[in-house]
Symmetry: C2
Subunit: 196 residues, 2 copies
């Protein structure tokens, strides 16, 4: 199997995240971004892993434009869970502080769910990474909140920012998944999708 | 403790690696790079963890220029070990292929050793990360060797490149350490160094 075939496709990325676009390009893909409006609601009885998959599929179904022959639609949702409870984007600096205090000296899970579609064929998958923060001092949390942008991030932190570099002791799993794209699962699923 | 004090220092980085410089800047430091010539030899009886620490210290001792009051010298060495054996930089594409085949479907260790100095005070430390490659097909290895630059990299791969995104299933430990800088251990040690 030659990868040149796969790389002849353009990924139609249904996300405004510049980081996801950058990661896809780093993987070797051409990328076109689009954006649909969907509500981020989901059934209450879903398991942790099923929630981001459900939301990714919802975004995928909301995208009604026709895809060209050499295009693959990608919708992705990344969520942070602490003790099975969702940590969304903090609404203000005080909530960001509370979230980071809850992550301090603790393990949490980052789960990305993905939906990909080519023509009539589609696939759903997810990837989970465990992230361990060391004990974060109040000054570390305050410094991060003051100097960086926790408010637009689920769980109030970006692993690629300062606090990820000085506060994340260990991860178990894929790093890129924590950044917002499960690159290894995505690559395997894209290969399968074009071979179907 | 305010971080503004720490960030008033300039890191004098004894390394030509543009990636290390970029990571230090991402951590919030001002950086000045210098370069000394040292041989990469070490005593045969050192443990795996002690080798990069020894080499980092050697680089540190080879740097004889005086440091300014607000400067901290940093020397770092990152090594790849498979079953306790060092994997250096491959000398040609054939050796790169052999190395990647040996990493395929296997766990290996990436260890960074660091030496930091401020005035007469110095510290040595290391950080280890376990990296797990999934089974890599011949076409994956050939594609990577053909399109990317494995020859200037210990172990013949860069985790921030394509093969890291599609081939590394899991890491245990610090991601930035695999990129070449143990950011979390470095940050803690820098804080201790300026408090000494």
């Amino acid at each position: 199997m030659s990868f040149n075939d796969l790389f002849s496709y353009t990924i139609v990325l249904n996300s405004r995240s510049p980081r996801r676009k950058q990661l896809l390009e780093q993987m070797g893909f051409m990328v076109r971004t689009v954006k649909t409006q969907t509500s981020e609601t989901y059934p209450a009885d879903l398991t942790m892993e099923a929630i981001p998959v459900f939301l990714a599929k919802k975004k995928g179904q909301a995208y009604k434009e026709e895809l060209l022959e050499k295009e693959i639609l990608l919708c992705s949702d990344t969520m942070v869970f602490l003790h099975n409870k969702v940590l969304g984007k903090p609404k203000d600096k005080q909530e960001a502080k509370t979230m980071l205090q809850s992550l301090s000296n603790n393990k949490h899970s980052v789960i990305s769910g993905c939906y990909i579609r080519k023509g009539e064929k589609e696939r759903l998958f997810y990837e989970k990474t465990e992230v361990y923060f060391k004990p974060l001092s109040t000054s570390t949390i305050d410094y991060y909140i003051d100097k960086y942008t926790p408010l637009d991030k689920a769980g109030a932190y970006g692993i690629q920012e300062w606090i990820g570099m000085v506060g994340v002791e260990k991860i178990e799993g894929s790093f890129y998944n924590v950044m917002g794209l499960p690159t290894i699962a995505l690559f395997d699923n894209l290969l399968e999708l074009i071979s179907l």
